[in-house]
């Protein structure tokens, strides 16, 4: 059917900041949708608060709004843009929920905007568990017995009836937030109250448990002609009870016969029809009883999802792109398959390989959190690997996870603990599983404990058996056959090296001697039935190589691997930009990455895509095949940087800044000498291996000091020590877990600059010239990890002399390190002295944000510099002061704010510190700093109140400065309440304040007030250990009851300015395309 002509302009709603359960996959889907709709001639208006996305690049949509994803801002955008339709299905749960809100509040009707892709009715049925269950029952499908509850007594009665364990799912939350399993009534009454709170409609479903059943997902599509196809089947290795985002999954399904699979397919078709998703992709989950085959429907997502991103990457079928085209009325049979070109998209992909996905967890970042895996998603990222067999795919996925060698439990672990680790799923269960098999635990027992299907366990048994055969051999005696067999089953050189106690290089040499090298095969949607035109490749050890490398100038770009805290979408953004720029410059671009959520692993992004782990072995094999002119390592974060020196010594040409310079910047001693030579100050610092040494060093430096490991292992956090005891304890503890046994990895001790302002600077350099890209002032003071701090561009409070100093230092550092490409410097400014904290001669987390704020695509420029072009030829809009060039800033403020996953980690304190814990970021733009900050806060989920009550409790240090903040808040019309100490300080400053009890002082105390909705903003700066419990409970309550909570005085001050700016202000919105056309502001 031809596309709709009654629609010309389409609004796409993005998914906002990266959070657990909603990550880069929606940048991938949103970007695809924008591209697909524009290719069909539609105008696209995009709104998303996340600047680190490709979709918010000004080139991706016709009109791009980086604005808070809230109803009032959306309405303002709709009023300006007057789109004909809104596509709500590519922006995750956030986009879908917002579209529903816009429909239900009449905004869509007022402005005559149609919902396309999914009707309100279909969304309602799919999203409302009860309606969905009714729909399934109506068409003769089984669903787990369940009931919806809205209060606790009723819930307990029903749970008793259903029997324990019972599953609790709050309504309308994403990533299963607030979901859990209760094994008895005591647990249940606690968990149900949390679930009801988590639900925006105070409603939860309690459900018969199908824990331990086999779990399957089908990714399906349907068009207006009612054509229906299954794109991919996915089987969860981990059974029901673990959120699919936290499960190891495999595609295609491995343990269903055709009849069982077809039954599931029929059910999926019937469901999508009954629910009424007329066009687009859906994800439908099923549980199958392994004993009887009884199949029940679990849930459906009437939109593209994390699973659909995985399915797209697993099959080569671009679900989001096709879904966008279907939404405007096209049919599957009239959309060609990009990969084969000759056949239509109306088909079901065939997979002649196996895909494994493993989630990436970071519980170590959240001490005190419960690391048991449940129905609420807790992983921060994932890797995918492709192999020709399950074993090969699993091995490749394990080594893609980083660290690349499988972690093994210590030998002294007893069997009882081992059993528990198998029975209670945690983030490392796979490793415990291998340990158990190695120790000879029977398959039956392992299956019984884990409820993992025996087929998978058998595969792992075979892997263990092969390992044991290999271990019995040696580098010298191994036969070609055995080595090949090991490689075919997925063993990495690194693993073999460990088994034989030799180096990976030895293994590689031996392999090459035997001619055992990988070949590359294509992902082509059709198992080679038709020719493929997109080189989307994976390695395996077989006969025929299909890479068909061509001889033309080419550059390999190494991606950033799985998302994790501190290394996420920002780096994928940079890698994509490198590919875009170099393609424009005539290079063949080759991407290597293993993260299925990303835009970089879209086969459309680069000329060639290698979906491979980012290990030395895998990358060298690709370089061997491609023989590129250069390799880019500085865009993918730490992952490719860690490979840089080894790649170079193996003959790879690293383009851009020399790996030696990168190494120098990371070597404290050498870098310290460089700073001395350049006469650039840095905080006093020292290293120590032993507690007494550390204490001595701390004394010399002067307290407070920042103590941290030189190599972050197992999440050992940095701490700020105000006393020597803390320093000593830290080193003793580090010694206990073995981090200091290596003299190359001492404990690092730095002078901590109290009350310093932190500044982030990004710069471009070509070896001759330097251009400062942005000087960002942090809102939170130094000591808070730069990734967890809000920042503003241009700087707001820095004096001209300080800026001058920063420019000069940055320029000198870039030249001294001979930077070609990007460099990031972190400064701390204390009493007008500028100290260098850290230099990273590579792309930083702030690159996309600065690019959006300045209108200059920094990563693209950097890629060009790395491949030989010069700054002077690129004609950037720069302003020169005292011989230093800087990108012109526009006449608006852009504030970046972090987003934290605290609501997923119960019991974790929310105070900020030197260890990064945010998962994502948002940007707020406005003509004043206050408004830009308030918008950023709103976008980050902290809606600053314009009226109501503010609770203030600050430490003694902050009491000196709290008055000005309180005054501003009071002027804005907010009532102020405070605990005793703070109240005294405020009263003394002449501010009207009401006292309130601390938690242990009586009732109603502050937590009671938060719970009952009487507090609308919490300002609580950490007091120190003695009142730890009290504070933590305040902050936890704020998170739980969704009250904005600010933990630093500087942020409180910014918030006060924001509140005053917001008051009486209608939402102001501006398209990026217009902002970038605005005049530049003069530099201070």
């Amino acid at each position: 059917m031809p596309k709709r002509t009654d629609i010309k302009k389409i609004l796409i709603i993005g998914s906002g900041p990266i959070i657990i359960g909603q990550a880069c996959e929606f940048d991938y889907s949103g970007t695809q949708a924008c591209k697909a709709l524009r290719a069909e001639g539609y105008q696209v208006v995009l709104v998303n608060s996340n600047p680190a996305t490709i979709m918010t690049d000004p080139e991706t949509a016709d009109r791009t709004y980086i604005e808070p994803l809230s109803r009032e801002y959306l309405e303002a955008i709709i009023a300006i843009e007057r789109p004909d339709a809104v596509l709500p299905t590519v922006g995750g749960q956030t986009g879908l929920n917002l579209a529903v809100e816009l429909a239900e509040t009449g905004v869509l009707e007022t402005y005559g905007v149609k919902l396309i892709g999914a009707s309100l009715r279909a969304i309602k049925i799919a999203e409302d568990r009860l309606l969905f269950k009714d729909a399934c029952r109506k068409i003769g499908l089984e669903v787990p017995a369940s009931a919806v509850v809205t209060n606790i007594p009723e819930a307990i009665t029903l749970a008793d009836e259903l029997g324990y364990p019972v599953v609790i799912r709050p309504s309308f939350t994403l990533g299963g937030t607030g979901g859990s399993i209760a094994y008895n009534r005591e647990e249940f009454s606690d968990l149900i109250s949390r679930a009801l709170d988590a639900s925006p409609v105070h409603q939860a479903l309690i459900e018969e448990s199908v824990i331990g059943w086999k779990e399957f997902e089908l990714e399906v599509m349907r068009d207006v002609r009612d054509n229906f196809v299954v794109i991919c089947s996915i089987e969860n290795v981990d059974p029901m009870g673990i959120h699919t985002g936290d499960s190891i999954t495999v595609a295609p399904a491995q343990t269903l016969t055709d009849k069982e699979y077809q039954r599931m397919r029929d059910a999926a078709a019937a469901i999508i029809r009954e629910v009424g998703v007329e066009t687009g992709g859906s994800n439908i989950q099923f549980a199958v009883d392994p004993e009887t085959g009884r199949m029940t429907v679990i849930e459906m997502n009437p939109r593209v999802s994390r699973s659909s991103a995985l399915a797209s990457k697993a099959t080569g079928f671009p679900i989001a792109k096709i879904a966008a085209k279907l939404a405007v009325g096209m049919t599957l049979d009239e959309i060609p398959n990009d990969i084969t070109r000759k056949t239509p998209s109306c088909f079901e992909p065939t997979i002649d390989y196996v895909v494994a996905k493993i989630p990436k967890f970071q519980f170590e970042k959240f001490p005190g959190s419960e690391s048991t895996l449940t129905t609420q998603m807790k992983s921060v990222g994932e890797v995918m690997a492709i192999g020709r067999t399950f074993q090969e795919a699993l091995c490749k996925a394990i080594r893609a996870l980083e660290p690349s060698t499988a972690w093994r439990p210590p030998a002294e672990v007893n069997t009882a603990l081992l059993r528990e680790k198998l029975h209670v799923p945690g983030p490392d269960r796979l490793h415990w599983l291998f340990e158990a098999l190695e120790r000879g635990m029977t398959r039956e027992e392992v299956c019984d404990l884990t409820r993992i299907d025996p087929w998978f366990i058998r595969q792992m048994e075979e892997m263990v058996a092969l390992d044991q055969r290999v271990a019995a051999s040696s580098l010298e005696t191994v036969s070609r056959e055995l080595l090949l067999e090991a490689k075919r089953s997925g063993a990495s050189d690194e693993e073999l090296a460990k088994l034989w106690n030799v180096s990976s290089a030895d293994i590689r040499a031996r392999r090459h001697e035997f001619g055992v090298r990988p070949v590359f095969k294509r992902v082509d949607t059709c198992a080679a039935e038709f020719e493929s035109f997109t080189p989307y490749l994976y390695s395996t050890y077989e006969d025929e190589d299909e890479s068909a490398a061509v001889d033309r100038p080419k550059i390999v770009i190494l991606g950033s691997g799985p998302n994790r805290i501190g290394q996420g979408i920002e780096f994928d953004y940079c890698c994509c930009h490198a590919a875009f720029a170099l393609k424009e410059d005539g290079f063949e671009t080759i991407m290597v990455n293993c993260n299925p959520e990303t835009v970089s692993t879209d086969y459309d992004t680069s000329d060639r895509l290698y979906f491979e782990p980012l290990t030395l072995e895998d990358v060298l094999a690709i370089l061997d095949r491609e023989k590129p002119q250069g390799v880019i390592v500085q865009f993918g974060g730490q992952t490719p940087l860690n490979l840089a020196l080894a790649l170079k010594s193996n003959g790879a040409k690293i383009v851009g800044t020399d790996p030696e310079s990168i190494d120098l910047a990371e070597d404290r001693r050498r870098f310290g000498r460089l700073l001395d030579e350049l006469k650039i100050p840095q905080p006093r610092n020292a290293t120590a291996l032993a507690p007494d040494e550390a204490v001595r060093a701390a004394k010399e430096i002067g307290l407070p000091v920042l103590v941290r490991p030189s190599y972050v292992l197992g999440g050992r956090a940095m701490v700020i020590a105000y006393d020597l005891k803390t320093v000593e304890d830290y080193v003793i503890q580090a010694a206990q877990i073995g981090t200091t046994s290596d003299p190359k990895r001492p404990i690092l001790i730095d002078q901590f600059l109290e009350d310093a302002t932190e500044v982030d600077v990004d710069a471009l350099a070509d070896g001759e010239d330097v251009v400062i890209a942005g000087i960002m002032e942090h809102i939170e003071e130094a000591g808070i990890h730069s990734g967890d701090s809000s920042c503003v561009l241009p700087a707001v409070t820095l004096k001209p002399a300080v800026l001058e100093q920063i420019r000069s230092y940055t320029s000198r550092l870039a030249r001294a390190l001979n930077v070609v490409g990007l460099m990031n410097v972190q400064y701390a400014i204390q009493r007008d002295t500028v100290y260098v904290l850290e230099v990273n001669p590579r792309a930083s987390r702030t690159i996309p944000y600065v690019s959006k704020a300045t209108g200059v695509p920094l990563a693209k420029v950097a890629a060009r510099l790395m491949t030989g072009r010069k700054l002077k030829d690129l004609h950037l809009p720069v302003i020169e002061t005292n011989g230093v060039k800087e990108l012109a800033v526009r006449d608006f403020y852009a504030v970046k704010s972090p987003v934290f996953p605290f609501n997923k980690f119960r019991g974790v304190d929310t105070i900020l510190g030197p260890e990064m814990r945010s998962t994502g970021e948002v940007m707020g733009v406005s003509s004043t700093f206050g408004l830009a900050f308030a918008k950023a806060q709103l976008a980050a989920g902290q809606r600053l109140p314009l009226e109501g009550t503010v609770f203030i409790s600050v430490n003694d240090h902050d009491k000196r400065h709290v008055a000005s903040v309180a005054k501003e808040l009071a002027t804005a019309g907010l009532k102020i309440i405070a605990t005793r100490g703070t109240a005294t300080a405020l009263t003394r400053a002449g501010i009207e304040v009401e006292g309130v009890y601390k938690v242990n002082e009586g009732r109603p105390n502050i937590v009671d007030l938060i719970k009952t909705g009487k507090v609308h903003l919490v300002i609580n700066t950490p007091l120190g250990r003695e009142s730890f419990y009290d504070e933590k409970s305040i902050r936890r309550a704020a998170i739980r009851y969704n009250v904005p909570c600010i933990t630093t005085l500087s942020a409180a001050s910014a918030a006060a300015r924001g509140i005053r700016a917001m008051a009486g202000h209608a939402p102001d919105v501006a398209a990026l395309q217009d902002l970038h056309r605005r005049k530049s502001a003069a530099l201070p």
């Binding site: 068409i139 003769g140 499908l141 002609r225 009612d226 054509n227 229906f228 196809v229 299954v230 343990t255 269903l256 016969t257 055709d258 009849k259 069982e260 077809q262 039954r263 397919r265 029929d266 059910a267 078709a269 019937a270 029809r273 009954e274 009883d289 392994p290 004993e291 009887t292 085959g293 599957l332 049979d333 000759k342 056949t343 239509p344 109306c346 088909f347 079901e348 992909p349 065939t350 002649d352 020709r388 067999t389 399950f390 299907d453 025996p454 087929w455 058998r458 075919r488 095969k521 198992a527 080679a528 039935e529 038709f530 020719e531 077989e542 006969d543 025929e544 299909e546």
Partner: protein, 334 residues
């Protein structure tokens, strides 16, 4: 997954060997009665695994369907190639007569409970005319077009290598089926007084199966005829068309077929090396009803005035998707 008797499609296996990349040594499935290994050993089918099957597929894609030999006894490659070359080509051979039943038998067994149709089964019918006085939906809900309560249709099925799932589905649709050998004469079939005649699937080239073509011509117009796969090709030949050999045939369960009567696409299971040339069919008598969207070859036809329709793909789909299960046509009640 292993093997079970419920999923069997014929009384014995007809493949001569199995070539796979990875062969699982265990079965894990609640319906499994034996492992794949045990099943194939019982049927004397050799398996070779650890083969770069993708390379093999790419070779066949370029070279077309080939004859092959599997050997483990160390015979030199040249000799094996010579042996393969000496094998008869599929074209020109009547393979149906080798696999057909020796004598006629009755079939009554329906589908296993696992795959009973859902209450709201997919799609509208090919020939949507339901029985008078009954809505299409009601007929669908019954999931069968029974002539009357208690009465069953009598269908005679020619066996050219019939898949048992076709028989099960006919039984599900209130048919009492008599399966007859390939060479049964039209007269003998008519003597059984069938309500309809089914022309089955089967291996190889339809052209040499001249006796079947002749029988279909005799039956045409005297009894409703429905053909699948080889049966479709035989119908095409009987109606005056020609068939030709495809380069590497259609195999697998994901072939998109467009129903030209409804404009809808169904994902189908296919397994054939020959094909009806639609241009060779007399357009005045025969209408093309289905085409393959990958290569636009013919996938279905019907006679414009007489009760005959046939499809190239396998609507009974076992294995394969059930999109085309709607294919049924009300038979006149006599």
């Amino acid at each position: 997954m292993g093997a079970n008797s419920e999923d069997e499609e014929s009384s014995k296996t007809y493949i001569e060997a199995l070539v796979v990349r990875d062969f699982s040594s265990i079965a894990s499935n609640w319906r499994s009665a034996e492992s794949a290994h045990e099943y194939l050993e019982r049927h004397g089918v050799p398996v070779i695994w650890d083969v770069d099957t993708r390379a093999l597929v790419r070779h066949l894609r370029d070279a077309g369907a080939l004859r092959g030999v599997l050997a483990t006894d160390g015979t030199p490659a040249e000799q094996l190639i010579a042996e393969a070359r000496a094998l008869p080509l599929m074209a020109g051979q009547d393979l149906a007569s080798r696999v057909t039943t020796a004598k006629k038998y009755d079939w009554t067994q329906g589908s296993v409970a696992l795959i009973k149709p859902l209450a709201a089964a997919a799609g509208a019918g090919l020939l949507s005319a339901g029985r008078a006085g009954k809505s299409a939906a009601a007929a669908k809900a019954k999931a069968a077009l029974a002539p009357d309560e208690g009465r069953r249709y009598r269908v005679v099925a020619y066996d050219f290598g019939i898949k048992q799932n076709i028989l099960r589905l006919l039984a599900d649709h209130a048919c009492s089926v008599t399966v007859v050998p390939a060479k049964t004469s039209a007269e003998d079939v008519l003597a059984l007084k069938p309500d309809g005649v089914f022309i089955s699937n089967g291996p190889g080239d339809p052209e040499p199966v001249t006796y079947a073509i002749a029988n279909i011509r005799k039956l045409l117009g005297r009894v409703p005829i429905f053909g699948i796969c080889l049966g479709h090709q035989l119908c095409g030949l009987a109606l005056g068309g020609r068939t030709f050999k495809l380069k590497f045939g259609h195999h697998g369960s994901n072939h998109p077929v467009k129903n030209l009567l409804t404009g809808k696409v169904e994902i189908t299971a296919q397994n054939h090396g020959f094909c009806v040339d639609p241009d060779s069919l007399p357009a005045s008598d025969v209408e093309v009803t289905h085409i393959n969207l990958n290569d636009f070859t013919n996938e279905g036809l019907r006679h414009r005035s007489l009760p005959l329709f046939s499809v190239q793909y396998h609507p009974e789909a076992s294995p394969g998707p059930h999109d085309a299960r709607y294919l049924r046509r009300p038979l006149p009640v006599r």
